[in-house]
Symmetry: C2
Subunit: 172 residues, 2 copies
């Protein structure tokens, strides 16, 4: 179904969503992070349609998230590897992993354990402020227009947020 475009939205979340395209993206990334590189392996592990996988891999390569590297010539054989841009998505994946482990494990504990080499423990991702290092949740931060938002949108944003914060009062 034709996707609504968020590409030009003044919001990096929306742009990320648009850029990655659909829910197959995090799953393909997960596979890539686990070391999968070959077409057939992605296809089998994900049980994804070959046409869909072809399309997705092609797009990831075009958009710079993956490279397609020939690993042999006769016959030609390829591997798909994450670029830095693709690898940088890892924390989105680990955040989803943590959320899923907490809320969706059906009481059996996490299906996948992430072991941190440096401390030797099975761990989860934790989100902290990149400036001061404190952990934070929604109440600890405020959102405001940034340098990439034009002033018209910025004033709409202020109206929007102001309206939402008074939502507990009955409208006049």
């Amino acid at each position: 179904m034709k996707r609504t475009s968020f590409r030009e939205w003044p919001c990096s979340v929306a742009r990320s969503v648009d850029f990655l395209g659909d829910w197959w993206a995090p799953l393909i990334f997960r596979e890539a992070f686990l070391g999968t590189t070959r077409f057939d392996d992605f296809q089998e592990n994900l049980s994804i349609g070959r046409n869909i996988l072809t399309q997705r891999l092609k797009r990831f390569v075009e958009e710079g998230l993956m490279t397609k590297e020939k690993y042999q010539d006769r016959p030609a054989r390829f591997e798909y590897r994450l670029t830095e841009k693709g690898t940088d998505f890892f924390d989105v994946i680990t955040a989803m992993l943590r959320w899923g482990d907490r809320w969706l494990d059906g009481g059996k504990g996490p299906p996948l354990a992430m072991e941190h080499h440096a401390c030797g423990h099975t761990v989860h991702a934790k989100t902290v402020c990149d400036h001061c290092g404190d952990d934070f949740t929604r109440e600890d931060v405020n959102f405001a227009p940034g340098p990439g938002m034009d002033s018209e949108t910025a004033s709409k944003f202020h109206q929007q947020v102001a309206r939402s914060s008074s939502s507990k009062t009955k409208k006049p």
Copy 2:
């Protein structure tokens, strides 16, 4: 088109993906995190079909990610608010925000600035180990079957990972 189900996958990423349903989810969550609570506001801000929004909000309420609260009686009027389960998704959103800011800002800087109350700066999310506090990337961790993975799947997982790590050699 009927969505492939990842619900029973031995992987919290896949389960999260399945649970949330589609790309509207992070966008609806983003709106909710910005304080939007009313049907019309979600609809206008997201330019989403009313039927799709109805469906999604209903499902989020059923699945415990949101509550639907009546804020007036005559006529009945409702607000949708994130539960703890929903709010806990915040770090996925902030991870996407960081990724989008870094790779998709088109040179203009971030459209949305996140200000951290405690340190007073405009900040981004950073992912650290929840045990030792060190930051980490993919190379710093290993994945292994966890308590929620059955032994058959676990042995397949080992085969899969072993096969992938030898992918630089030509197959015999």
